[in-house]
Amino acid sequence: MSIRSNGATWLGELTGGAPALHAWSAVRVANGELAGAPARFIAVVQDPGNQFPRARNGEVGLVEGWQLAQAVHETMHEDRDARTRRPIVAVIDVTSQAYGRREEAFGIHQALAGAAGAYAEARLAGHPVIGLIVGLAMSGAFLAHGYQANRLIALADPGVMVHAMGKASAARITLRSVEALEALAQSVPPMAYDIHSYASLGLLWKVLAPSSAAEPTRDDVALVRATLEEALADIAPNEARDLSSRFGGEHRAASRRVRELLREQWNA
């Protein structure tokens, strides 16, 4: 069955339709190329037949979390003795984590930790990890798939959104209406849902404006591919493998201030 989602579309475009390395239904892993060298691409797609009913719409559930972990660990394992570590591109279009009783009972937090931990370990081991946001990047699902990347790239498109919680849920939980939440988000950048407000937090390395995130043209694909290769070059071989490149945003003064004080006081 072919599933149309931005994640599936971009994974196909960037790997030239390469066959999936695993017979998994929701987590797709494929080989591709970047700058003339092998690269691994991973996406989470919808799975209407998922045996866990709460993980059928592109959510990262128990099985998906652990499969992401496996996919990343396999890449690390294969490159253990190689001179260069292959880049890993997380193609990000994830609705949310799966909300359900089965998920909590069997420890979905641990499955997502498996995925987040694997990406972090890959980054520390020297794999350039790039997160390419082509659709939704929501909450726990984003933490599991992409947020540990050395560089994050997002497409500016109405279908692209990064957030800690969906609008309707966030409104319910903060006891606000969706309209009130949207109004508040206008003046409070970290609460906003649009990609440009998100960019103002300094978390994105680049924002691209393709003609469409859902139906990319050949030029769109070329633009994204070129940007992925630039990101790869930007992740210098000897550079710190941490997330410090994200601390410079105009709205992250408090994060910088806290770290500055901690450094001053650490050995005082």
């Binding site: 930790a113 909450s139 990064v162």
Partner: protein, 282 residues
């Protein structure tokens, strides 16, 4: 427990974040970093005319535990539900980053995180989420050198993105009163309906996500009573053991094999989870 033992007991849960941190570190060794007098408060809560707190709900305490350099990151569940905003999140991530730096410089430093948290602070949404990603990155870095131990005692529980952070810790210590899970029962009920999860059914919540069940199903390591000395003794033992041969978050093969045995046609009971993981996670 007899009455005398009960009276002698020094409750851990009744302490606030600062008191918990002080009680875990060797007597007289605690020094607080970026404390209330540094006055780094949440710029985002203030902007929304919400009450701020001078430590933003996170205490960074440096000292020794069992003689070893240790940093305790204690989340205050009483402030904004222990939610992670920009400042509190940066305190935890920044301290873990410095601990990892010390290890690289040949100065062994270990960390304890006291998880009493609902997860991301929705009023700081994307900055809270980013801070949690940075905390996770720092845990994975630091745990390569010295254990990072998570403790959740009660009463807030450990939820949201911070439960994923807890899942990255080298070891987890829980009390019976603790709850550990990704999505809170109320959120699940809102998202998926009452039939999926009845958030008022407290017995169900503790049966599935409580400390006793999490330890029995190997999603946590040590169950302790609500007793400060017991928490401290558990930490001492685990730190002396050093990092585990394999971190729980790296056991994808065991977890995937276990999950293949789950009957997903019906909702699981606590006993079902024990059956699956007792076999699969030995």
């Amino acid at each position: 427990m007899n009455i005398e033992a009960l009276l002698r007991r020094d409750s851990f849960i009744e302490r606030n974040a600062r008191g918990r941190a002080r009680a875990l570190l060797d007597a007289g060794s605690m020094r607080e970093l970026v404390g209330p007098f540094d006055r780094v408060t949440s710029p985002w809560l203030a902007q929304q005319k919400l009450v701020t707190q001078a430590d933003d709900g996170v205490v960074v305490a440096k000292g020794t535990l069992d003689g070893m350099a240790t940093v305790v990151l204690a989340i205050e569940g009483a402030f904004q539900g222990g939610s992670m905003g920009e400042v509190g999140g940066a305190k935890i991530a920044g301290a873990l980053e410095l601990a990892a730096r010390d290890n690289r410089a040949g100065k062994p430093t270990q960390a304890v995180i006291l998880f009493e948290t609902g997860g991301v602070r929705l009023q700081e949404a994307n900055l809270g989420l980013a801070a949690i990603a940075e905390i996770q990155a720092a845990i994975v870095d630091l745990r390569r050198y010295r254990p990072v131990i998570g403790v959740s005692a009660g009463t807030v529980g450990c939820y949201g993105g911070m439960s994923i952070a807890a899942g990255l810790c080298s070891y987890l210590v829980l009390t019976r009163e603790a709850r550990l899970g990704l999505n809170g029962p109320q959120v699940i009920e809102q998202e998926a309906g009452l039939a999926e999860f009845d958030s008022r059914n407290r017995a169900l919540i503790w049966a599935l996500t409580g400390g006793e069940q999490r330890v029995a199903t190997r999603l946590a390591d040590v169950l302790v009573d609500d007793d400060t000395a017991q928490v401290r003794a558990a930490l001492t033992d685990l730190f002396r053991a050093g990092p585990p041969a394999m971190h729980r978050s790296d056991r994808y093969a065991d977890f995937l094999a276990s999950l293949a045995h789950v009957d997903t046609a019906r909702q699981p009971e606590a006993a079902d989870v024990r059956t699956v993981y007792e076999k699969g996670l030995t």
